[in-house]
Symmetry: C2
Subunit: 323 residues, 2 copies
């Protein structure tokens, strides 16, 4: 007899994806994606509920049979109350999204940070499979991490653990770069795709980053991390200096997490890190060089294995209230 | 009826202390301290066993009634095997100390890092009481931490978690300072009492730190963190610049741990941090300034409450195999 199917939801800033997941194989059996038309918590809850019902119907799954569903949210969440404390991309603060969605679906809802969900998915079926101590570092438009410690998801006292994107990395004495969080000198201010693109566009305007502009086809609005990577490959000195800087900050921050937490597995994910092989190579070199020797011993560094499915798979597993 | 007494041992680089602990109140009922005469693992195990028997006899405790004893060791330990992987102050590598001591005492022995033991003691009866997520940062001759996450001691995949002293903090482009661990740019290279004293003595020899030498009574061999603090209080510019540098590195490293782990409690301990109020003040200011806002919300920062007893109390609680 196969285990009952489960449902996991990935709630991002622009759309939501509900997926029916086989908890034994990790396979996504059916999925439905919806853009947010209206962004109030109640409107999103209704739209997510529709997507969920649609995915369930595709898989022939009766929602009433579920012990619960899980939602990974791009924001800071309080897992015990289901409240989304702060989700800048959705414009939410203290939104009781778990309750709203539970009222729509008539099943218990577990709300977690999206990278916590992704880490849990990678641990069950992906690059962190079998590791009781694993860290997922994600570098995409933002920077964050998911922490699995002692076989459990570590969410912290306020549910906001894992914010590696906001550790402060600006060198002493240097002018720290501003971050989207309103603070300065955060890792995300240097390595997050959004901040990185804004910086390079500024430096294009100052006439410093012509090689990257060229790699973006001369269109400043298309300047991004991929264009920096392309310019790097073409030998552009600005791109080489930028990757040297960002790769060192990223690799050192990851090294410090490994030194502090001594995980067995470090999983790298996100479009900026996985889409820019030279940045990844430089970051890995600093990671190797700066991790305390005894913590490096036995550490395996892997690229994320489940891609976009990691979040819905992890959320589906975490959402089952009977587990 | 009172709970049975327990035994905790603190094994440092120069001596060991065995204590009989009341597990309900955290009181040290009896204790016996022994310097290491010979430093081989077997000789230390025998000497520790004698101290343990002596402390037990003082308290009228029959060792045969114990479910186990706990030992906190100043070094990296594998808790599952009882092996001390690396203890530079004892000159040990891969020493099976747990087995050796168990053979002497005829009871199960649990071996943990000394700061893990201290964190566990502070959580039970001290400054971290009642907190499921708490970090103890210790700045003495070395720098380290003990991590309690989700109500459990976090020791990591290889038992070496918590090494905040060896996170890399040297600013990009600057010459990193050497650390006793054989690496460069570690927090301990800047803030550890041993490295700090060596640096100031070097700078005294270079004629840069006259104010500190004066505070040490003109005796270079007495130059240490306390002398820097005294010179700071006297308005010495070298001491002020040194505390500004060390306090910023220390405060930023602690801020980054809080941002990553989101603990409810941060406990400050160790002779350098607690013995130098101006260094503590500067470090706390950077901690407040550089911790991600949502992680700072609800964080309580406390000075360690149990002093030298934290380690034996925590070890006693962790050592009880029946818990």
């Amino acid at each position: 007899m196969s285990a009952p199917l489960r449902i996991g939801i990935d709630l991002g800033g622009t759309n939501a994806r509900a997926a029916v997941v086989d908890p034994v194989t990790g396979a996504v059996v059916a999925a439905e994606k919806r853009p947010h038309v209206e962004r109030t918590p109640i409107a999103v809850a209704r739209s997510v509920a529709e997507a969920t019902r649609s995915a369930a119907a595709q898989a022939g799954l009766d929602l009433a049979t579920l012990a619960g569903v899980g939602v990974g949210v791009a924001g800071q969440c309080d897992g015990t109350t289901g409240v989304v404390v702060n989700a800048p991309n959705l414009g939410w603060r203290d939104a009781p999204f778990g309750d709203l969605l539970a009222q729509e679906l008539h099943v218990p809802v577990q709300v977690v940070n999206d990278l916590s969900a992704a880490a849990w998915g990678e641990r069950a079926f992906g690059a962190a499979r079998g590791a009781d101590d694993a860290v997922l570092v994600f570098v995409g438009s933002g920077v964050g991490s998911g922490l699995i410690l002692g076989g459990r998801l570590h969410q912290g006292a306020g549910g906001v653990a894992g914010e590696i994107g906001h550790v402060k990395v600006a060198p002493r004495g240097a002018q720290p770069r501003p971050c989207g969080c309103g603070e300065w000198g955060c890792l995300e201010a240097y390595a997050g795709g959004m901040n990185l693109a804004a910086r390079v566009r500024d430096e294009v305007a100052e006439g410093k980053a012509g090689g990257v502009l060229e790699a973006a086809g001369g269109d400043a609005s298309r300047v991004n991390a991929s264009a920096v990577e392309a310019a790097y490959l073409a030998g552009d000195p600005y791109a080489r200096e930028l990757w040297a800087e960002v790769g060192e900050l990223l690799g050192t921050a990851m090294a410090n997490v490994v030194t502090l937490l001594n995980p067995a597995r470090l999983v790298l994910g996100g479009g900026v890190l996985l889409g820019c092989p030279n940045l990844e190579r430089i970051a890995r070199a600093h990671l190797g060089d700066r991790t305390l020797r005894v913590a490096r011993r036995g550490l395996v560094v892997e690229r994320a294995g489940l891609g976009d499915d990691a979040g819905v798979v992890g959320a589906a597993l975490l959402g089952d209230a009977s587990r």
